[in-house]
């Protein structure tokens, strides 16, 4: 991706987010029961969607890295970049959920299945990111992280299942619910769909940017190694034999 297309992409994301803000704050109506608090929906749902999407991408990239036929260093970098964005959006989801819960439920936090699973998800992938930062060769790190990502990905449904059993109190899913029309209407539904799309663009942009940084970091390491070798060769030549 050239410098110009990257700039244009970033600009498109900015515009999409600005339109989302206008739609969410002015165009869509306030809710009959929740009043203006309902507008948090247009942030909370997209951030949660991005969080899940990001971890899904991490899992897929990890599988692609693990399969010898498709193994490329980029898959490892993509897994890491996506997980970083995912952790940020999981954190945002939790904070936004708490801010929304306070006026609507009367409490900041509720120990229901979805909230609890999301909190555990946050910690699982924080651990994954910590694991990524431990010093090892690129191959060793790639292997460990890919396996850790897959274990985390398999663990999440089990965690969710056990927490659901433990307690459940949340309203049912809206966006991907076939009975969507019964629960959410017109400009609200449009705003929600638009904001999910805008945030998905933002996700793609952030991951692309993070990947670029990772590539530059790797390039820097190679460059430093080259310089060190050149330096060594130069000094050895100076020393009289």
């Amino acid at each position: 991706m050239s410098h110009l297309t990257r700039r244009l992409f970033g600009l498109a994301v900015l515009v999409a987010l600005a339109v989302t803000a206008v739609l969410a704050l002015w165009v869509s109506p306030a809710d009959a029961q929740q009043d203006d608090a309902v507008r948090l929906l247009y942030l909370h749902v997209p951030t949660a969607w991005i969080a899940y999407l990001a971890f899904f991408v991490t899992a897929i990239a990890s599988i692609l890295w693990l399969v010898p036929r498709t193994r490329r260093a980029e898959w490892d970098l993509l897994a890491g970049a996506s997980a970083e964005v995912g952790v940020i959006f999981t954190g945002l989801t939790l904070v936004l959920g708490a801010l929304w819960g306070r006026p609507v439920w009367g409490v900041w936090w509720e120990w229901d299945a979805r909230l609890t699973t999301t909190a555990i998800l946050f910690f699982l992938y924080l651990g994954y990111l910590a694991l990524r930062r431990t010093g090892a060769t690129a191959d060793e790190r790639g292997k460990r992280c890919a396996i850790a990502a897959l274990i985390a990905f398999v663990d999440v449904p089990i965690v969710h299942f056990s927490v659901t059993w433990w307690q459940t109190l949340h309203q049912t899913g809206t966006v991907f619910n076939p009975e969507m029309d019964a629960e959410i209407h017109g400009s609200m539904a449009f705003t929600l769909v638009f904001s999910v799309a805008a945030f998905t663009l933002l996700y793609a942009y952030l991951v692309r940017l993070r990947l670029r940084v990772a590539e530059l970091e790797e390039g820097l390491e190679d460059r430093a190694l080259e310089l060190a070798i050149a330096e060594r060769v130069r000094t050895e030549q100076v020393v009289p034999v």
Partner: protein, 224 residues
């Protein structure tokens, strides 16, 4: 048969180290016990609260002590090139995994018996549904040991291993904490069918953790 022999060999090695070094007996076990005492301080040694909270406090204490046992199981592999030695034995990755997990499980089960007695005595708990309690503890221990072994090997070789293991293991074993606590609470409450449902969840988690570990362990042990 060879698989079981190999497992016994690896587990025997780890348990022999623990018997001779006495770290598990003299450090990890007392640590678990002091956590049980600290919980009583936290809840103001309330005679009504403690028995109700006992199942959760018990499992929290076990989990904390388990973190030490997991860290220990992998720190012994890092001195004297033991990790290379282990690799050179030619043992199958799966049996290495099950062996190491089994040793941790045995240690944890002993710990659970001691802490269980401590909880009954100190928190004034009336024991009911002993069979369900034992089955829940066994299944939870296997799940915990298997998950811990996978994350233990993932974190080996890193300078931050001791701090990394708790962060990796605790969120992953949420089902053990929840399932163990609920199974114990229901069994002590006399609701046996609910208790057995939680035991089933614990067994499912244990089976998955052992399966995942057996698959993942061999590639993780190889030098990248």
């Amino acid at each position: 048969m060879t698989f079981l022999r190999e497992v016994a060999l690896v587990a025997g090695k780890d348990l022999r180290i623990e018997r001779r070094s006495r770290v598990a007996m003299q450090q990890i076990l007392p640590f678990g016990a002091i956590v049980v005492v600290m919980f009583a301080f936290a809840l103001d040694a309330d005679r009504t609260t403690l028995p109700i909270a006992a199942p959760g406090l018990f499992w929290a204490a076990v989990l904390l002590a388990a973190l030490l046992a997991i860290g220990r199981s992998f720190s012994v592999e890092e001195v004297n090139g033991a990790r290379d030695g282990l690799r050179l034995t030619g043992l199958d990755g799966g049996s290495l995994f099950v062996g190491k997990a089994a040793a941790i499980a045995v240690e944890l089960f002993v710990l659970e018996i001691v802490l269980g007695v401590a909880v009954v005595v100190l928190y004034d708990v009336t024991v009911r549904g002993l069979l369900a309690l034992v089955c829940a503890a066994l299944a939870a221990t296997v799940g915990l040991a298997a998950t811990g072994t996978v994350y233990g090997v993932l974190a080996t070789g890193s300078r931050a291993r001791d701090t990394l293991i708790p962060l990796l293991v605790l969120p992953a074993v949420t089902p053990v904490m929840l399932g163990g606590t609920q199974a114990f609470a229901e069994a002590l409450d006399g609701s046996m069918s609910e208790a057995w449902q939680w035991v089933q969840l614990l067994v499912a988690f244990a089976v998955l953790a052992v399966a995942a570990g057996t698959v993942a362990f061999a590639p993780l042990l190889e030098e990248g």
